[in-house]
Amino acid sequence: MSDSEQDETGAGAVMPSRRTVLVLGAAAASTVVTIRPALAQTAGSVLNCEIPVPGPHAAGSYIGADGTPVAAGTPGAAPPLARPLSGEQARVLLRGSTPPGVNPQSAQAYANYIRRLQAGMSGFTCYASLQMPR
């Protein structure tokens, strides 16, 4: 299929009709969503994963309320978890609840830590597998 063919059903066809209203919108209203590589649901069937909190890159750190690693012993921060979270525990945390074995006062910090995981960090592929499209 050629590109010009596609364009007739796409943007090109929209152009000539004058008086069509075009809303440029506000700064906050995003009009572009980029498809990211998904392990998504698939990985759920693929692995039995775990998320160390924190990962080796921040071993020994406490976790601040916003999920960032902070110096050990920081008041108000959550201590590192002795055992990695299972995928199921992480899922419960991300729903805003507290899974068994986790101190409820620290749950929010751990959940935020998981949300901040990025590719290349330990636990990321596990986190990605918990993401569901809504």
């Binding site: 980029t34 990211r36 590589p37 080796p56 890159h57 921040a58 071993a59 020994g60 750190s61 960032t68 690693p69 110096a71 990025q118 590719a119 290349g120 960090m121």
Partner: protein, 334 residues
């Protein structure tokens, strides 16, 4: 398939394959990140149907890897070129951007770039303004270690594209014994369309040899050595190449690594090399070759003791003994 010899044979001389252990060949090629290169080498040959489809999929994968690598370079260009900082692409991305033969089938992980040391903080700031983020926590031992001793910034990752960039200011850790002339690497780099740069051909070989032999435990080294083979075959067409290589290797204090890399390329891939530059074969070449081939047809690593010896060697090369002890101690406590 007890070692990766079959993989090396397939790359060196595809026509010599006679009913090989195909499954083992594919598994070893995947484990060594050489499936794309194998697909290029076997293209057009009469192959079992299953192999043809596996290699066709590998070529599709390579095409995607190329697009991604070039796109990351382009986004770095958009972020950095306006600052006027000279930006030199390294490794796989450079092969792709410069259209060298070595790009064919070459997978690319992170984007590696070289910038002048005195402007590295400026480069980091421009990248962060364009959406890259620090991956390791900004405080703490790792970050300090990088900034004090390494030849690169702690890696940055792009928040939308999830791709990493390594910003180097030279090609070996500062603790390593050879001290490459980073200023010369930059001064003699070659500009591409759009303003990004790549290293001088001879410097590319020096860097590839340093990366293979002076900065690691040779894991995945067959791929790096294949880069060297492809680059040498292409560069050697220029009659001035070999003398320039000698001069650049000496200037960057990497004559030994370059000589060894040439001998290993010649030994494993049959690369035509200038024997005056490669130097005389040493008994230890055999150990290096055995380390490079330590992979079986299930994709498993073999020769544990040999691999461990090269792992120790890699740390030894990088750090003076006292520092090595301190490094391992801090890592162990963390």
């Amino acid at each position: 398939m007890r070692n990766a010899g079959l993989l090396v044979q397939a790359l060196r001389d595809p026509a010599s394959l006679a009913d090989p252990d195909w499954s083992g060949l594919i598994a070893a090629a995947r484990a060594e990140q050489l499936l794309g290169s194998l697909a290029v080498r076997l293209e057009g040959m009469k192959l079992p149907a299953k192999i043809a489809t596996i290699l066709e999929a590998a070529r599709r994968d390579s095409a995607h890897a190329r697009t991604q690598a070039l796109w990351e370079a382009e986004m770095a260009r958009r972020a950095l070129v306006p600052t006027g900082i000279p930006v030199i692409l390294l490794k796989g991305t450079a092969f792709h951007a410069a259209g060298l033969d070595a790009h064919q089938g070459r997978s690319v992980g992170d984007l590696d770039i070289l910038v002048p040391r005195e402007r590295i903080e400026e480069a980091e700031a421009a990248l962060i303004a364009a959406g890259w983020e620090r991956i390791k926590s900004a405080e703490g031992y790792d970050d300090l270690y990088y900034r004090q001793w390494m030849h690169e910034l702690p890696p940055l990752i792009h928040r939308d594209r999830d791709r990493m960039i390594d910003v180097h200011h030279t090609i070996l850790p500062l603790t390593a014994r050879p001290t490459p002339d980073a200023a010369a690497l930059i001064a003699d780099s070659v500009v591409l369309d759009g303003g990004l740069r790549v290293l001088l051909p001879a410097d590319m070989i020096v860097h590839a040899a340093a990366h293979l032999l002076a900065d690691g435990d040779l894991a995945g080294g067959l791929r790096n050595l294949w880069d060297i083979d492809r680059l040498l075959r292409e560069f050697a067409a220029d009659p001035g190449f070999w003398p320039t290589l000698v001069e650049r290797a000496r200037r960057h204090q990497l004559g030994n690594a370059v000589g060894r890399a040439l001998r290993l390329a010649s030994r494993l891939y049959g690369t035509p090399v200038d024997h005056a530059v490669a130097g005389r074969a040493r008994w230890s070449d055999r150990l290096f070759a055995a380390r490079l081939l330590a992979r079986n047809g299930w994709g498993q690593e073999r020769r544990k003791a040999l691999r461990f010896a090269f792992y120790i060697r890699s740390h030894w090369l990088r750090m003076p003994p006292l520092m090595l002890a301190r490094h391992l101690w801090t890592k162990a406590r963390a």
